[in-house]
Amino acid sequence: MTSSGATGTMRLQRVEPLPLAGAEQQALREVWGQTLVELAADYPELVVLDGDLANSTRADIFAAAVPDRFFEMGIAEQNMVGVAAGMATLGFAPWLSTFAAFMANRATDQVRIVVAQPHLNVKMCGGYTGILTGKTGKTHQSVEDIAIFRAMPGVVTLAPADGVELRSAMRAMMETPGPMYLRVTRDPSPVIFPDNYTFQIGPGVLLRDGGEVGLIGTGVQTVRVLEAADMLAGERIAASVLHLPTLKPIDADAIVTLAERTGRIVTAEDHSIIGGLGSAVAEVLGERRPTPMRRIGLRDVYGESAPNDYLLEAYGISAGHVAAAAREMIQES
């Protein structure tokens, strides 16, 4: 299903996504818990440390299946990070289970000192990323986690789009030593990748190929970017869709290639536009190929507790917002 190259200057990993209509729905957290169990069989060094949220993050699936490698650390995330670092020095590969807000914000200094600086093999997972977190409100939503981890030298930062990509990404995380942060989401979302898709740390994935505007998504927001591309196609606007599941190291060549091909870039993320995907893309283009762009994401605000549909509209991150930004750019030029 993966093929290299495309038209003209495009030389990107190309994957044809599954149709959105009638797509299977999977909650990434469920896949995360199940995949940990699968990986445990292949990787005896894998252990899971939980901050008393296992039945929310779905680390409880692992706890039930592999109880002797599950360690409850209680509501004490800072200590949990330190314990993981200590275990990593013995050759364990600890995976951490908590919400993204606590992983990124509560234990930032612990990650900095005992994980990022010594570059230890700790897999930091943030469940409940973004603002679609089950009506928890701003305290439990996470709109700065990409910015925080991306700023830490040496920390690989990942945001898979669906359950298939998440499962493959988790295996890649086990195959590659070093500190990593993984974004996981709470609610069911469409499966867009075919079963035979293989995730690689780093490369972007071209999901649609169109010359008028380049849409870039990360995480499950890429699904809404595909919806936006479909809306634009209905208006005879040809949009490319580039999915960047790796926020760091960012696939700068793919971004530049897309900018060269389309001349217009729209980024979309379930995160603040400050420090996240939009910033990362702007950094690349600013240095290598200045290109007009729009960033779709939270505009320097925190969220609130409300239903998902309301949040997507109120905070301007729906598929419609992505399509509107692309439309405006085309009309302006």
Binding site: V47, D68, R69, F71, M73, G74, A76, Q78, N79, M80, V81, G82, V83, A84, A85, G86, M87, A88, T89, L90, F92, P94, D109, Q110, R112, I113, V114, Q117, P118, H119
Partner: protein, 293 residues
């Protein structure tokens, strides 16, 4: 089982402690930066650990079953570097590179920079948690090693310490020993009527560890007899983690530094260096006299 087949005499330990203090004062003078008060309060304990207690092999620093030591109060790094050098992990002359560009002896310990360092520390309150991870991992793997973590009494104001203290008791990690360098002097202190108090940051820390489910032993952190008794007891205690509350004096061994918070991080002048070394040489001579008698 101890590291060394034949344990050093208490006078050997005393002599090495004074020698460590001389090297510490010289290194800080040479670097023109660093901390002195805390390293001097920790010197006897570190000598006891590396020469009398810990099961380590400097020629094979990555040996999986070695005892682990974490200096949670990472700003006392020069004391740890000094004792590691004396123990044979690297040349003593390298102490003169402390804090210099490209030195393996970073201002705060970098676990990948220098053999013998088990964890990077420096941001206070963080060293006990990795110690628990090592102890927990040892239990899982069936390794017999012990993990020792030295805490400063100032840094136990950090909340993470008490997260770790709670968790260690919960997992009954009897293979971890916390050593509290209870020198009683923080860098700045707490405001109170009439000015600032430099009194101990946390009163009766032993009672607090005990309340969290730890076994607590108090000792004189400058008396090798007392230290040996405490650490020997800690090594054989089972079913609970042990905290050794070592009563110490900041700046111990140099009279004009002792108990003076100004020497937390201060570089001695030429005259002060000479005076400090003369005092320490006198202490070495006194140990020799006792032995000769």
């Amino acid at each position: 089982m101890t590291a060394v087949e034949t344990r050093p005499s208490l006078d050997d330990l005393r002599r090495m402690s004074v020698q460590a203090r001389k090297l510490i004062v010289q290194a800080i003078y040479h670097a023109g930066a660093g901390h002195l008060g805390g390293p001097l309060s920790a010197a006897d304990i570190l000598v006891a650990l590396y020469f009398d207690q810990m099961n380590v092999d400097p020629t094979n620093p990555d040996w999986p079953e070695r005892d682990r030591f974490i200096l949670s109060k990472g700003h006392s790094s020069i004391a740890l570097y000094t004792v590691l050098a004396m123990r044979g992990y690297f040349p003593v002359e390298e102490l003169n590179t402390f804090d210099a560009a490209h030195s393996r002896l970073q201002g705060h310990p970098d676990m990948h920079a220098l053999p013998g360092l088990e964890m990077s520390t420096g941001s206070l309150g963080q060293g006990l948690s990795p110690g628990l991870g090592m102890a927990l991992g040892a239990k899982v793997r069936g390794y017999p090693f012990r993990t020792w973590v030295m805490l400063g009494d100032g840094e136990i104001q950090e909340g993470q310490i008490w997260e770790a203290v709670f968790t260690a008791a919960r997992y009954r990690l009897d293979n971890v020993t916390a050593i509290l360098d209870y020198n009683g002097l923080p860098q700045f202190g707490w405001p109170q009527a009439g000015g600032f108090t430099r009194e101990t940051p946390i009163d009766d820390p032993g009672a607090k560890f005990r309340a969290f489910g730890w076994h607590v032993i108090e000792c004189d952190g400058h008396d090798q007899t007392s230290i040996r008794e405490a650490f020997d007891a800690a090594r054989v205690f089972t079913d609970q983690p042990t905290c050794v509350v070592a009563h110490t004096v900041k700046g111990q061994g140099v009279s004009f530094m002792e108990g003076d918070f100004n020497w937390h991080a201060k570089v001695p002048s030429d005259e002060q260096l000479a005076e400090a070394l003369a005092e320490l040489d006198a202490q070495l001579a006194a140990i020799a006299d006792v032995e000769a008698a």
